[in-house]
Amino acid sequence: MIQKKFESAAQAVADMQDGATLLVGGFGGSGLPSHLVAALVEQGAKDLTIVSNNIGAVSDGVAALISNDQVRKISCSFPVGPHADDLIARLEKGTIELEIVPQGTLAERIRAGGAGIAAFYTPTGAHTELGEGKEEREFNGRLHLMEHAIVADYAFIKAHRADRWGNLVYRKTQRNFNPVMATAARITIAEVDEVVEVGEIDPETVVTPSIYVHRLVELSPQKEGKVLVNG
């Protein structure tokens, strides 16, 4: 019988190794799997390569991993915000590598990774500093850049509700990078508010099919009466 539920975020991330590549969902605090990130700070795996849209927007996001010196390289579109100081300090020391990727190219590279597309051509970023060193090619008279797929060892994602198989639904703009990141990792760990039995989620409404989800951690902030303010 399929059972993907882990007892805690700590157990779900326990096997993570130094040097792993990790996708972290969320857009600022919305849809951020903050309990999984906190568990990884505790667990301590180092030399991580992290792909996440924002890194300085919230203190309980990727910023926490950077401050704890667990990150070797970070790919993101928006490396600024109130908690980016520790990133800047490490960039100046040269202990961390930063790759800035246009947001749509970041999403599409992850989507390509999940969909078995090795590389693709996009007009985004052509003739810019972020396109330097990339292979260029013209299609329909317009310059495009070749961009490579991103695949990862792990993805940390946040969803609203899961069923036992791992089908996921989200709340509102909590989706953001979560559905696409779920597809591109060898082990996708979803932090959810609630795990229900199969059949309890309308099959027409599932956003992330169970095939993409390997581990579930149930954390019920609503049930605990906590108000979620991640801004």
């Binding site: 989507r111 039995e197 099919p209």
Partner: protein, 227 residues
């Protein structure tokens, strides 16, 4: 090489389906090709959760509907009415093939015209025909983690397991295991290895009907396996 006479020998197709179903692991996501492989759906042992994928856009394929209960908006890749299990979901063809191409399908169980000793598969087009029916066959065989064939050991034309495919290829080197009415054969780096023989079928009998060299699995009790 001997042409297969029209006789019942070895496993029946439902027996073979049970054999395949037995080898699928709990929790696997499995795509069953059009035709014979769909028999596997009815053979999954009680208590084992195999989630079946249909490339037209669903996971969690259930049994055929009762007569009169057909819903023509709920069909499998063969365009036959089916049902959805609790936990099943719908999605688009592009999402479906993202799953396939992205390596998320644990096993594809497919039919074949020919398979070579290196696991090259020919399954989409007969030689010298105008039309081929590729469907999702190339995507499935290029993308699934494992490709299992489910087929009659021979056709009217003779052996289907050959040294080199003469029919147009679907995907080279993609086949992991071949289930036929006569035997279960692994495609290994050392060639084709017979893992199991059907009851009453000898190794020589299988070899005679196979146009590529076979070896018997080393830890196989003997040629008498299954007799």
């Amino acid at each position: 090489m001997v042409k297969e006479p029209k006789e019942t020998i070895g496993w029946t197709m439902p027996e073979l389906a049970s054999k395949v179903a037995h080898d699928l692991e709990d929790g696997w996501f499995v795509n069953l090709g059009i035709g014979l492989p769909t028999l596997v759906a009815d053979s999954i042992p009680e208590g084992k959760e195999i989630i079946l994928h249909s490339e037209n856009g669903l996971l969690g394929l259930g049994p055929k509907p009762e007569p009169g209960e057909e819903d023509w908006d709920l069909v499998n890749a063969g365009k036959e009415p089916i049902t959805l299990l609790p936990g099943g979901v719908y999605f688009s063809q592009s999402e479906s093939f993202a799953m396939i191409r992205g390596g998320h399908i644990d096993a594809a169980v497919l039919g074949a015209f020919q398979v070579s000793q290196r696991g090259d598969l020919a399954s989409w087009k007969l030689p010298n025909t105008l039309l081929g029916r590729v469907g999702g066959a190339m995507d499935l065989t290029a993308g699934a983690k494992r490709v299992f064939l489910f087929m009659q050991h021979t056709s009217k034309q003779g052996p289907k397991i050959v040294e080199e495919c003469t029919y147009p290829l679907t995907t080279p080197g993609c086949v992991d295991r071949i289930y036929t009415n006569l035997a279960v054969i692994e495609v290994t780096d050392d060639g084709l290895v017979v893992r199991e023989l059907a009851p009453g079928v000898t190794f020589d009998y299988v070899q005679e009907r196979t146009a590529a060299p076979l070896t018997l699995q080393a830890d196989n009790p003997s040629e008498k396996v299954g007799v």
